[in-house]
Each structure stands twice: as structure tokens, then as C-alpha cells.
Symmetry: C2
Subunit: 622 residues, 2 copies
């Protein structure tokens, strides 16, 4: 039975991701704490709202819980008494807030406790889910179980009200998350009651007559994935974060129960996502209208919503899919999202964030959309901000990248999987494994496997070229199993496996039905998607064209932690407004003259760190 | 002094525009009348609103007045007792509505007469402007002066309240139109008081301290062109219809007064419009946010607003610019708008309309934008409708195309201008001129000029090729003056001038700063802009590419009244979802295979007459 090596058993020790985790520790965790403190999220845990204070919001508890979970992962890596004191303080407030019957929710207790469990859209169970995840992580990190105990009491109440008595005004959560959290709680405590409640929520969802679906945003149960029983769902629908959290739980349950129908649904949904509804950055949810999936092939770039949380959740779903079938494409997708569409949510400085991650940005277009504020036209922002009124993404970045080590390794009875390349160490059932690499800056990965009889399976990313394996310096033949290079042998103490490969610059095309990308290409290198920014290339990026077949120059950039890429291209010869002979007409039957230019591409995740300016991922080729 | 040959002196006798005018007479005038009657616009003229009846709206009077004006032009061409009876009936209601002091406005009298002249945004003077235009036209058509008399009494009130006493709550109209109407009234009656009031409104506009500009939509006086005195304005700003009507009045006043500063402002504004802010269809006003101009080069296609009324008004402005300087480019622009971005507002059936005229339409994108109605996301419609709640465009189509003959000819003391080619007859100061042509179906124009000593000036459209002139069958040399072929001679009775030229299919490129059109081309032939529709080319039009240098086939199409064009292109070989080997991945570093295909282009104006389907004007080339 496949298991990933959990966050408690793995550590990232160097390289790109270590730098990011250091940033989380040094900047992000404190920055998010301060913003949440200032905005009243922590004060709300008093359960009392006084006129003049910020009004508690239905999702504030989930923000706090995600911050706490992220802090717990940092504490696993390195003791920090000050950070732990902050966590303990928050937890003491939560415990004090908890009611006799187990309930706690800072919004409902302060504002309208008489209405608890009456509104499906109000995130109560979603908040509890995040409290559970935080409680498990904090227990793992510190051995302290106050929050865990509080959560178990609350879950007992939820089990009674929702599953046993069915006395709540709705049947399954409006915003999924508690399902996967219940699975985590079951795995952590071993108590099958949590698995029972999880199955109840998953299996009841969308079942006509059993799952009441009050009309919600857009009037459709699609929005919250309650349009069909989960085993009948075939396309990613509705709010993309909700969808991904549901699919995570479905994958957990399918693996736990060996449920083939549920596994098949997970595969269909994953395939629909990555083959029809995912941006090349791993972004998902192409419209701000309901933060939702739209239809197959509808992937507009400027209007892309592609919420940070949705890409993070896609990575979490993909990681769980490996448990159902160890195919490299799942971790390819997780890696894509983690290096691109999710990581773009975090500034290089670590203290500011994007909620949306469009693949094209124009200050002009955003300025125009905002000219008439009362019209509430939607437009992405071009500079990350320190806090959002709906601030789900910042602490989600903290908790997912803070536990990134959980993506690296997995194991079955006879196979040790290396899913992602990062300098790291992990404890496995076979013993300790150590990995040393500067990936994705270059393509060399050194592995020190534990001794024993088993297969070592190294993921070969889809784009890999000229991969070769050596054991103790000797070339070693390997089998490619579902995208993993598998070496089965008796490993000796001191063995060293070296995987080397090229990381080519690849020019990507989108499927012809993706009308937004018709005639356009995008530049990638390994798992990294690149973009053009105005600060490097001048404005009017739409005019730039990539020359087919041009030779790339790949140059390491310390600020970005990854190389930048220069490629030959062309741009129009600028006209001279002061000289009518050099001024092009607005429309002409003569093509405008073009000249050669170098195009500078930076990693997509690093855009918008040098002031507001134009950006685009897809560009013309000629 | 240049004058256009007025609508009373010219007639369209055959060809494309005759067919359209027949459609107006046979269908449009009645269809709009019926819709306006049903929606309460006519009943509102009672000046009484009863609970349960449709609530009068501040702009309803302008709808009625424009219909009346359009009907008057039809009556000029051909008597129609039934139509005249309808007009007389409406006019009798208006006269009955008029108050002792001259005021009449169906909204204010029914709803809040105590608030008249207090809200700049409320279209009172705009409505009066349209009543004036209707009154002049109806007087010209029938000799009946009841409405004219009513308007003159109302104008006297406005003159007193606004100019003399300055007792209204604002100084100049929020929605311009009355200025150009006052000029028309002055020209029709000869009373200089109207010219004085017109100058007052034009000259006061945007003058700090003199023109109060209460915050309006978007909070900016830009919206209503009151950000600067008119002679200082340099860019087309704000609501595009308001802007164009103001510029019309400025051009009228500049010509009337020989006002060089005002002329220069008109030229700057016209040039800004056509060289920076106009769609290739002659559409203007690129955002629905305030129905407004945005910034130079911002011409998005899917999001294009390009209101029918705005293109009509651009044509009216361009026609007035000829009076300031007889340059062919003015009528090039008028012709572009009239054949394309304005005419697309009218269905082939004559009874339904577009308010917006985007250059790209996708049922998918509109469906997605409408998924969550409460979000009020904006999206164009893909099928014309019979009436809009704001129904300015349908009667504007009626009145402008109903008086299209006014665009054809002009004269100075020694020159007779032929601006547009259409089978027609006109009375000029030199005598009767007759034109016979099948333009723009082909490039032959026969002119029978009146006898006398003068110059005949025929406009040579910008795109013309191989133009030659013959007089009585003999080749005649001509001078090209500002884009007009000028033949100065002693014309004899029976002389016949023949202009022949090629109408090439032209592939147009947009200025490189128009990012929406980067890498794209559009197909045109003569004054006609073409588009692709899904019904002819299959869906997923974005995938289609035009092959550079392909030979066009031009085939007359009776339904459209103009040729369609076939050009060679390519499309992707469709994949086969049932066969994984034939299914393209979502992203790939291999270009997707393409195959040759014929691309079918139809006139842009004729799109959306065969059911909702995809459309696009700009397409890739390869």
C-alpha cells in the first residue's frame, strides 16, 4: 500500500525550496501574523464583537487556522519559542471560545449563535476542517494536544448534528475541506468515527433527496460540486478551490477503501482538469465569476482568475492521486503548480501576495477597468498586496510551502519513490534517504539510498531529455514504469545513485481549441514556465514575436533563484509621432516594419516584483 | 462656402443603399413604432403616469423624436398617409403636453416637474435637441409646423433659463445634442437667437468657473467632455456618442463663424479618433464602462462596445468636417462607419438591432459571463433584438440611414462634390446631377453632371486602385486634390463622366501599438470590412489562419447585397477524443498539425443574421 513520506519524516536541506522555506520562516509567518492581528482576525477569537471593532467574518477562523498550521510546520523544522508562544496563545483563545457542546466559531458566537448550522454557504465546516489540520500539525510539531482535543469534541458535535440526527439545515458542507481534514484526523488518531463522518459527507454530496442544495451563487449546485453524486462527476465544476478539496477527499477515501468507482471518478476529474481546464502555469479556475471552472478549453489569459489557493489545492490533489496509481504525470502536475501558478502568489520579499494569477497583465487594461469604480468591473491587480479582505491565500501559501517536504517521497512495501528533486533527507521504511541537487537550476540529482532489497523509483519529468542513471559512477540500466526510472537491487550502505539529464528550453503550444492561445507559444525550461515583463522588454509586449528556432541563452539570476532566458525575437520599428513619414497609420495594407530584438524571459512565479508593469506568458512566434 | 446638398435635394435611386432605405420603409419604421408603442414610449406623452403602467424614462422623448425624424425622411421620399397620420398623432400629443411657459418633457411632467432643469445627467436638453431635429425634418417633409412652433417656444424658455437668467442648476447639457440641433434650427429658420444659444452652450462647456460639472458616472467631467474648454480639447474622451454630437456642433460652429481655433480643435479630435481610437469597422468607444473612449490604442475586440449610435455620430461628424476642409479622408471615415460599424446595428430583416458591435463574438464567452447573473458581468449579445430598454440605436439607424442622401453631394461656389457613390439624383446650385453605379459591388460610376462652368470633384477612396476617368468615353486627365479627382471644365448638357477603378481585396494590419490586433490581419474590400462566422467556417475561429498571399475569390451574395470572399487558409487537423494517439495534449512542444482550408468571409455588417455563432474580424496569418 502506497504512502507518502509525511511532513514529520522529511526535511528540505538546501536549494531553491530551502530558500523559500527560509523566507517563510524569516518573513512570511510574521508578516501574515501581523496583518491578521491588525485586521482583527485574532481578536475575533474572543467571541465578542464590540461596535467599532472590525466585524468578524465567516471565514476568518480558517485564515487563523491555516496560519497556525503553517507555523506548526516551521516549528517541526526548528524550535522557535516566540512563534510557539504565539501559537499557544491563539490556541488558548480557541479553547476558551469552545462552547459546552463542543462548538466554536468566532463569527457565529459573536454575531448570531442562534443561526449556527443553518446556512450552507457560511464556511462553518470549512473552518473546522482547517482547525483540524492545524491541530494535527501542531500536535505533531509540539506534542501539545489542546487544539486537537477541542477539535475532536467539535467533530463529535458535527457527527451527531449532521450524520446521526440530521438536524442541521443542510447536509454536506457548502465549502468542502472538512472531508480531507477528517481523513487526516482519522489517520492521526486511528479513530474510525472520523472516517465514518468523512464518508458520510463525501457519499451524501450531490445525492438527490439526500443532499439539500439551497440555491447559491449563480443559483446552481455546480458551484459547490453538488450537482451529482461524486462517483458520477466527470468534469471539474464550480468554485475551483472547493472542487479540489473535494477531489482530495475523494482520492483519500478511494485509496483508504479501495473504492474503484471513486478512484475512477478521481481519475476522470484529474484528467479533465489537466487536459482541458488548466493553464500552462498550473493555474485553474478561469473566471472570477464564482472563482470557478468554466468550460473545456476556456482559458483566457488576461481574465484568468487562477487563484493561488486553487493551484495549491491542485498540487494537494495530484499528490493524493499518486497513492491511487504511481504515475509520474501526477507529480508533474503538482510540480507545475508549485513552481508556477501557486508560487506566483508569493512575492520575492515574502510579505505580499497575489490572490489571482493571470497569465497576462496590462496596467492600461486594469486602469480602464477601474475607471468607473461603481461599475465594479473586474480586473486583476499588478502588484502583490500584504493582506486581502478575503485572505485565504497568504496562510495557504505558508502552510503548503511550509510542508513541501511531504511532496518529495513515497513508499510501498517494495518501492521507494523520489517524486520531486530537492536537497533533502527523509526517514522511510527502508531507512534514511538523502538527496543532493541544485535542481531545477541544473539536471544532476545525487541520491544516497538506504541499504536493503527494494526498488528505487525516480520520477522522470515529462520534459526530461538525455536522462541517464549511474550507481556509484557506473551507468545503470533502468526500467521506465509509468514515468518513473525504476532500479531494483540490493542496495548497500554507501551506494550513490546519480541521475543526470538535460533541462531543455521548450517552446510550448496550446491545444488548438484553446482559442486564447491560438497562434501563440510559451517558453518553459524544466518545470518552470517563463514570462515576458515590460521592465525587461519595454511595454507593448503584444507586439513582440519569438523567432522560431532561435538559440536560447540561459543565465542564472540570483534574485529569482532560477535562470532567466534570452531568445531572439522581433518587434516593430517604433514610429515617430513627430514625423508623419515615420508614423504608421492606424490600419494599413502594408505590414509594419520589424526589427530583431532580444527577448528576456523570467520565471512566471517571479513576475510583478519590480513595480507594476506589463506581463505576458503567451507570445506570438514568427 | 461649402455646403452639403441637403436631404431635401437628393435622392437615392438604386443599388445597395436604395435596398436599405426600402427596408427602412417597409419594415424598420413600423417595427420600431410598434415596439415603442408597446413599451409605453408614446403613451408617456400624455404626461401622466398611472401606477401599473411602464414608468416613463428620462430619455424616452429622444427615442420618439428620432423615430419621428426618421419617418419624416421617408415621407420626403414618398407620401404615406398612414405614416403621416401616426406622426401627426404623436405631434398632437407633444403639443398638448407643452406647458404654458414652453416646457415639454414626458418624464419630468409625469414624475417630478418640480425638479426640471436640476439634474445635468437627465437628458432634458438632449431630448429637446432631438425634438428640434424631428421638427425641422417634419416641416421640410410635410410643411407642417406645429412641432417646430412648439420647439421654438421651448427653446425660448431654455435660452432664458440657461443663458439669460442662468437659473438652471447646471450650465450646459449633460448629454450634448441640442447644440447641433440649434444650429439646424438656425439654418432652417434663419433666426440668429438659436445660433447665439448654440454658441453659449459650446463656448461655456468645460470652462472653469462658468460650467458647473457635478460629479457624474465615474466622477469625472471627462465623461461628458467638460474637462476643458472645447477649443483646448485634444483627445476624444468620455461617452462616445456625447463626444461625437459635441464635435458635430463644434464643426458646425467653426464653419459658420470661420473660427480657426475651433476648427483646429475639431481637426485634432477627428485625427485622434481615426488614428488612435477607432476600430477598423468605424466603431468607436471601446468600453461599456460609460460607453466611452478609453485611451489611445486600446481597441479590444471581444470587449468592444462600439455602440451603433456612436458610429452613426462619427459619420455625422466626419460629414461636417468636409465643410471645414474638403479632404477625402473625412468621407472615407463616414463611409467606413456607415457600411460597417453602424450598419451592423441593423439586421438583414430590418426589424432587430445591435446596440453594441464587437469585432469578435463567442457564444461560449458570453455564456460564461452570464453564468452568475447577480454579478452583472458585461458581455455582448450575439443575436440582434427588437427593442432595448435603452433604445437609442434603433430610431437612430432609421433617421441616419433614412437621410443617407445627405452624405452624397456637396458644393462650393465653383465645385460640385461627389462624396459617396450610389445611384442617385440631386439638385445643386449648378443644376441636376445624376449618378448611376452598382458600387461597392463593382467599381464603375457614371455621372451626368449639370451643364456649366465649374469643377466636378469625385472622391477617390483611399484604397482605390487603377482609377481612370472618362468624359463621354474619352479618357480625361484629372487632378488629385486632397483625395478628390477634380475635373474643371465647361460641362455640356448630356456630358457623361465615367469613373472606373478596381476594388481590391486588401489584407489590413493594425498599428503595432494596438495590442488586441498584434499578429492579426483583417480582410477588406473597398469600404467593406469582412469577418469570419462560425456558420461558414465551423467553430473555434481563433484556430483559423490566413495564408499570406493567397488569391481571393469574390462572389456576389444576394442575401448580403455584397460579395462574400473566399481565401485560402489553414486550420488544425481535428483530434479524435476517442483515440489517444489522435488526441493532442493540452500543452505540447510540438506544433499541432494543420491542414489547408478555405476561409469564407462575409461583410461585417451582415454577421449574426443566421443564428448565434462565433464571429471574428481579426485573424492570424501564416
Amino acid at each position: 500500500m502506497y504512502q507518502s513520506i509525511p511532513v514529520t519524516q522529511a526535511h528540505i536541506t538546501g536549494g531553491f525550496w530551502k530558500d523559500k522555506q527560509d523566507l517563510l520562516r524569516l518573513v512570511t509567518v510574521g508578516a501574515v501574523y501581523d496583518r491578521f492581528s491588525e485586521t482583527g482576525r485574532f481578536g475575533a477569537l474572543s467571541g465578542v464583537w464590540l461596535e467599532g471593532q472590525p466585524k468578524p467574518h465567516i471565514f476568518w477562523d480558517s485564515d487563523t487556522a491555516k496560519w497556525l498550521e503553517g507555523a506548526a510546520y516551521l516549528l517541526m523544522e526548528r524550535p522557535d519559542p516566540d512563534l510557539m508562544a504565539k501559537c499557544d496563545d491563539l490556541i488558548s483563545w480557541v479553547c476558551a471560545l469552545q462552547m459546552e457542546d463542543g462548538y466554536f466559531n468566532s463569527y457565529y458566537q459573536a454575531m448570531e449563535i442562534e443561526n449556527r448550522f443553518t446556512r450552507r454557504g457560511d464556511h462553518e465546516l470549512y473552518c473546522l476542517g482547517h482547525w483540524i489540520e492545524a491541530a494535527v500539525a501542531y500536535h505533531q510539531a509540539t506534542g501539545k494536544d489542546e487544539l486537537l482535543t477541542a477539535c475532536r469534541r467539535y467533530v463529535a458535535l458535527v457527527d451527531r448534528v449532521f450524520r446521526v440526527e440530521r438536524s442541521a439545515a443542510f447536509d454536506t458542507p457548502g465549502h468542502e475541506e472538512i472531508e480531507l481534514a477528517l481523513y487526516k484526523l482519522y489517520r492521526h488518531t486511528g479513530d474510525p468515527a472520523y472516517m465514518t463522518l468523512m464518508r458520510y459527507f463525501v457519499d451524501t454530496r450531490g445525492v438527490p433527496g439526500k443532499d439539500r442544495t439551497p440555491a447559491h451563487f449563480g443559483g446552481s449546485p455546480l458551484y459547490l460540486q453538488a450537482h451529482k453524486p461524486v462517483r458520477s462527476q466527470t468534469q471539474c465544476e464550480g468554485h475551483s478551490v472547493r472542487a479540489m478539496y473535494l477531489y482530495c477527499a475523494m482520492a483519500d477515501q478511494a485509496a483508504e477503501d479501495g473504492d474503484e468507482a471513486l478512484s475512477a471518478a478521481c481519475r476522470r476529474l484529474f484528467d479533465n482538469c489537466v487536459s482541458r481546464r488548466m493553464y500552462v502555469t498550473g493555474g485553474i479556475g478561469s473566471t472570477y465569476l464564482g472563482e470557478a471552472f468554466t468550460e473545456d478549453w476556456d482559458l483566457p489569459n488576461w481574465e484568468a482568475y487562477a487563484e493561488t489557493c486553487a493551484s495549491l489545492a491542485l498540487a494537494l490533489f495530484a499528490r493524493r492521486m499518486v497513492r491511487l496509481s504511481p504515475e509520474a504525470r501526477y507529480m508533474d502536475t503538482a510540480e507545475l503548480a508549485l513552481y508556477n501558478g501557486a508560487l506566483s502568489g508569493l512575492s520575492l520579499s515574502g510579505d505580499s501576495f497575489f490572490y489571482e494569477n493571470p497569465l497576462e497583465y496590462s496596467p492600461l487594461r486594469s486602469r480602464i477597468a477601474r475607471r468607473i469604480p461603481e461599475a465594479h468591473a473586474h480586473a486583476a491587480i499588478g502588484e502583490r498586496v500584504k493582506v486581502f479582505s478575503c485572505s485565504c491565500c497568504p496562510p495557504n501559501v505558508l502552510r503548503v510551502y511550509g510542508s513541501l517536504q511531504e511532496f518529495l517521497y513515497g513508499e510501498t512495501e517494495d518501492t521507494l519513490y523520489v517524486h520531486m528533486f530537492a536537497s533533502s533527507a527523509a526517514r522511510t521504511r527502508f531507512g534514511a534517504i538523502r538527496q543532493t541537487t541544485d535542481y531545477p537550476r541544473n539536471g544532476q540529482v545525487d541520491i544516497e539510498p538506504p541499504a536493503g532489497d527494494y526498488a528505487l523509483a525516480l520520477r522522470l519529468p515529462r520534459w526530461i531529455q538525455n536522462a541517464s542513471l549511474a550507481v556509484n559512477g557506473e551507468p545503470a540500466a533502468f526500467e521506465n514504469q509509468l514515468g518513473y526510472a525504476v532500479l531494483r537491487r540490493s542496495w548497500q550502505e554507501g551506494d550513490r545513485v546519480t541521475l543526470t539529464f538535460d533541462i531543455p528550453v521548450r517552446i510550448l503550444h496550446a491545444h488548438p481549441r484553446v482559442s486564447a492561445d491560438a497562434g501563440l507559444v510559451c517558453v518553459s525550461r524544466g518545470p518552470i514556465i517563463y514570462c515576458l515583463e515590460g521592465v525587461d522588454n519595454g511595454d507593448n509586449l503584444a507586439d513582440l514575436a519569438l523567432r522560431i528556432g532561435g538559440a536560447p541563452r540561459v543565465v542564472m539570476d540570483d534574485a529569482f533563484g532560477l535562470p532567466i532566458i534570452a531568445l531572439p525575437g522581433t518587434r516593430c520599428v517604433p514610429d515617430d509621432p513627430s514625423d508623419p513619414d515615420q508614423t504608421y497609420p492606424l490600419y494599413s495594407d502594408r505590414p509594419y516594419p520589424r526589427q530583431a530584438t532580444d527577448l528576456i524571459f523570467i520565471p512566471f512565479y517571479a513576475w510583478a516584483n519590480r513595480g507594476e508593469n506589463e506581463m505576458r506568458v503567451w507570445l506570438r512566434e514568427e
